[in-house]
Symmetry: C2
């Protein structure tokens, strides 16, 4: 009769798994012409989406302050992945949109993530990996990062 694994192994493995994927993603992104992208930039650009947003809206979407969102937009703008424009319908708003390079980098990241998933599927078997994803989905908040909004997360490929 085997005893249960210690409870702390779960968060540790989840973190390590995340790190492995993100590290390999960014190593590959750097190799393919995107050395400036930081781990969070992918999430932020996903949240911006094809339609564009504003800093305050982006903050609400990601669950951070509008100031934090604004600063992240600053750096993404500086390295050429987003651009700001005025909103003709509301003089207060400045709309953030992905540049061509931003859209390309998202598509590339999606391809790399698919490759990495295929490697996990090879190591574990497609059925086991699918079970892992299903189970994580079951214990993870559904609305986190607003994944329930149709059409933006992953909708850019």
């Amino acid at each position: 009769m085997s005893t249960d694994p210690p409870g702390w192994e779960l968060p540790l493995r989840l973190l390590l798994g995340f790190r492995v994927l993100i590290d390999e993603l960014h190593a590959e992104l750097a190799r393919q012409g995107h050395p400036d992208l930081r781990p969070m930039h992918g999430f932020v650009m996903q949240a911006i989406g094809r339609g564009g947003t504003t800093a305050a809206e982006l903050g609400r979407l990601l669950g951070v302050s509008k100031q934090a969102a604004g600063k992240t937009i600053d750096t993404l703008e500086r390295v050429g992945y987003v651009e700001r424009g005025a909103d003709p319908a509301d003089a207060r708003r400045k709309v953030v949109r992905l540049t061509e390079r931003g859209i390309e980098s998202l598509a590339l990241a999606a391809r790399i993530f698919d490759d990495l998933r295929a490697r996990w599927a090879h190591a574990l078997g497609e059925d086991r990996l699918r079970a892992l994803e299903t189970d994580l989905r079951a214990v993870t908040p559904p609305g986190a990062l607003r994944l329930d909004i149709p059409g933006w997360f992953g909708g850019l490929d």
Copy 2:
């Protein structure tokens, strides 16, 4: 025939799962008299262990610079979870040891993590959870306990 889930779902769910566990751990720790503990402190105190370490050694263990490790030790010392002492065998070294309170907080965290794991086992079934742990172990570096992703702890909440 069903198509594969997109590759980006895997890292996202891993991150969300990690955050869910860590957030609940620290909410419970705060409730039980340890409001000053930050997400990384548990990992750091685990790495210090009963035997104690030094800042440089701790940095190597965690995969961060000795300066970063030293600063984290500073804050843990300030809130009373570790203490520094001289090493009689080497005048350069200052040994970091857990205080009573530090050891208690680790034991408490272990209990809370076990409770959280039990909740996941209840939701998924013990066999599915065990499979999840096994599979994560298989795709994750064996001895790794490196926390060197700047900004991910406490980010996006």
